[in-house]
Amino acid sequence: MDFLMMLATTRRVLSQLRHDHRSIALILVVPALLLTAVYFLYENESLPPGVPRTFDRVGLMMLAIFPFVVMFLVTSITMLRERTSGTLERLLTTPVHKADLLFGYGVAFSLMAALQSLVATAVAYWIFGLDIVGAPAYVVLIAVINAVLGVALGLFCSAFARTEFQAVQFMPVVVVPQILLCGLFVARDRMNDLLEAISNVLPLTYSVDALQEVAAHAEATSRLWQDVAAMGGISLGILVLAALTLRRRTA
C-alpha cells in the first residue's frame, strides 16, 4: 500500500469525473428530485395524531439507498472501462499495488457520495422538514458508508461483465433484492423466515437499521455502531474479493 499512489488514483478518478459535467449533475440533482417526488406522493395522507409522516420514514431510507445505487452503477461502469480499454492491464505492469487502485477508487467516489448526500439531506431537512430525533450528521455518515459499499460491490461485479450492457444488468441482481428486503417495504420482523434470513446477510439491511436508530434516538446508540461496523466489515470483505479479481497475469 502506497499512500501517494492511492492519492494519485483518487485525483485521477475525480478529474475524469470533473470533465463529465452531465454525470456530476445527475449524481447531485437526481436524488433531490426523487425525494421531492416521494414528498408529494405522501402529501395528502391522513394520519392519526402522533403518527409520524410516511415521508419521515421512506424519505430517510432513500437518503441511504441513493448513494448505494448510484455509486454501484458509476463504479462498475468505470472499472469495466478500465478493464476493457487496457489501462488496467497497463497499470498492473507498474509498481502500483492493487489496494492503491481499489482504495483510490473508494476514496474518490466516497467524496462524490458525501457531496450527493449533503445535497439530498439538506433538501430533505430544509425544504421538506424531515422530522427525526437524531442528528443529520449521522444520516450523512451512513450515506457515505453506503456509497463505499456500492463502490466495493461495483468493483467486484465489474469482473463478471464483459460489456457495459452486461454491467448494468447486475443492478437487478445485486441491488434490487437488497432494496426489497432491507425493510423499506415490509418491516423485517414481518417477513417469512427465509426472506428474513436472506435480509440478515445483505449489507443494505444494516444501513436501514442504522437509520431507524438515528430516527428514534437523539444520541448514537450502541446498535447504531454495531450496524456501522457490520457495513464497514462487509464493505472491506467485498473490496478484498474485488482485489482478487485484479490479475496481473492472465492465463
Binding site: L4, R12, H19, T94
Partner: protein, 271 residues
C-alpha cells in the same frame, strides 16, 4: 584489481542479455500460440520483433512484461523471471491500442502513470516533450487524432525511464515525418543504455533495428541483423527478403508439419 574485476565482469556478461527465453511456450486459453522459442535480446539496443499478424508478437511481448502466464520453458528479463515484482519498476510497456484515459488531458495521463513510478513534474514535461506533444499538453486526450493518442500512450511509458521498453507497433498510424522522429528518439534512448523491443509489421522499419526476431506461426524463424536478413533473403528489400525466408522455411518445413502442441513441446526441448 583484476581478480576483483573478473567475477564482476562475468556477472555483467550474464546481464548482457536484457531478455533471455528458452523453450518458451505460451497458450492463450487452450490454443498454443508460442510453440517453444529460444532467443536472447542484447541489452542497450533496438530489437525488432517482426512477423505477420497472428504470429504471436503481442503474446510474446505480454509474456516479457509479465502480463501473460507461460505454459513451459523460461523467460528471464534483466536477470529475473518475467513478471517478478521488482521488474515492474524497470520495464515499460506500450500496448498496441493506446491504453490511456480519453477523458483526461495529455498532461494528466502522463502525470498519473508517472505517479505510479514516483516521477514528478520534470519527468512528465520531459516525456511530453519527447513525443512532441507540448502544444497539446492541456488538451483532452479524446480530442486528439489517433496518431497523437498513440504518442500520449508512449509518453506514459517514457515518463518512468524504464531500462527495458517494450513497444507493440508504436508507429502505426503515424505520418512519415513523425515516424522518423520517433525512430530517432528510440535510437537516442538505446544510445543512453535503454533496451528497446519494438514490434512492427512494416518491414521498412526493420532496417532501423540492431537485431531482428522473425516470428512466424508461433515459432522463431530467425534472429539476425538487417544486413544478414537481406543477404539470406537475397534482396536488399527487407520485405522481399523476409518473404523469401518464409518461402524457404515452408519448403524445408513441409515434412515437419503438422504442428501440434505435442510436437511443439518436443521441439522446444530439442532446442
Amino acid at each position: 584489481m583484476s581478480h576483483l574485476a573478473a567475477p564482476l565482469g562475468t556477472a555483467r556478461g550474464q546481464d548482457a542479455a536484457a531478455v533471455a527465453a528458452s523453450a518458451l511456450r505460451v497458450n492463450l486459453g487452450r490454443r498454443p500460440v508460442l510453440l517453444g522459442i529460444d532467443f536472447k535480446i542484447p541489452a542497450g539496443g533496438i530489437t525488432g520483433l517482426l512477423g505477420p499478424s497472428g504470429s504471436g508478437k503481442t503474446t510474446l511481448m505480454r509474456t516479457i512484461v509479465g502480463a501473460q502466464r507461460i505454459a513451459g520453458g523460461t523467460v528471464e528479463v534483466l536477470g529475473l523471471p518475467a513478471g517478478t515484482a521488482a521488474l515492474r519498476r524497470q520495464v515499460g510497456y506500450v500496448t498496441q491500442s493506446p491504453s490511456v484515459y480519453p477523458d483526461l488531458t495529455v498532461e494528466a495521463n502522463v502525470r498519473y502513470f508517472g505517479a505510479m513510478h514516483r516521477k514528478g513534474k520534470t519527468d512528465v514535461a520531459e516525456a511530453i516533450a519527447a513525443v512532441g506533444l507540448e502544444p497539446l499538453a492541456r488538451r483532452k486526450t479524446a480530442d486528439l487524432s489517433g496518431g497523437q493518442v498513440n504518442r500520449v500512450s508512449l509518453a506514459c511509458a517514457l515518463v518512468a525511464h524504464p531500462r527495458l521498453l517494450v513497444l507493440d507497433e508504436p508507429t502505426v498510424g503515424l505520418d512519415p515525418v513523425l515516424r522518423a522522429d520517433l525512430w530517432e528518439r528510440f535510437r537516442a534512448m538505446a544510445r543512453a543504455g535503454t533496451t528497446l523491443l519494438v514490434s512492427s509489421h512494416v518491414m521498412e522499419e526493420a532496417s532501423r533495428c540492431d537485431t531482428l526476431l522473425l516470428l512466424r506461426e508461433g515459432r522463431l524463424l530467425a534472429q539476425l541483423t538487417p544486413a544478414e536478413l537481406s543477404r539470406r533473403g537475397h534482396s536488399s528489400n527487407l520485405e522481399q527478403a523476409f518473404l523469401a525466408m518464409i518461402q524457404a522455411a515452408d519448403h524445408a518445413g513441409t515434412a515437419v508439419e503438422p504442428e501440434t502442441a505435442e510436437s511443439a513441446r518436443r521441439d522446444g526441448r530439442l532446442h
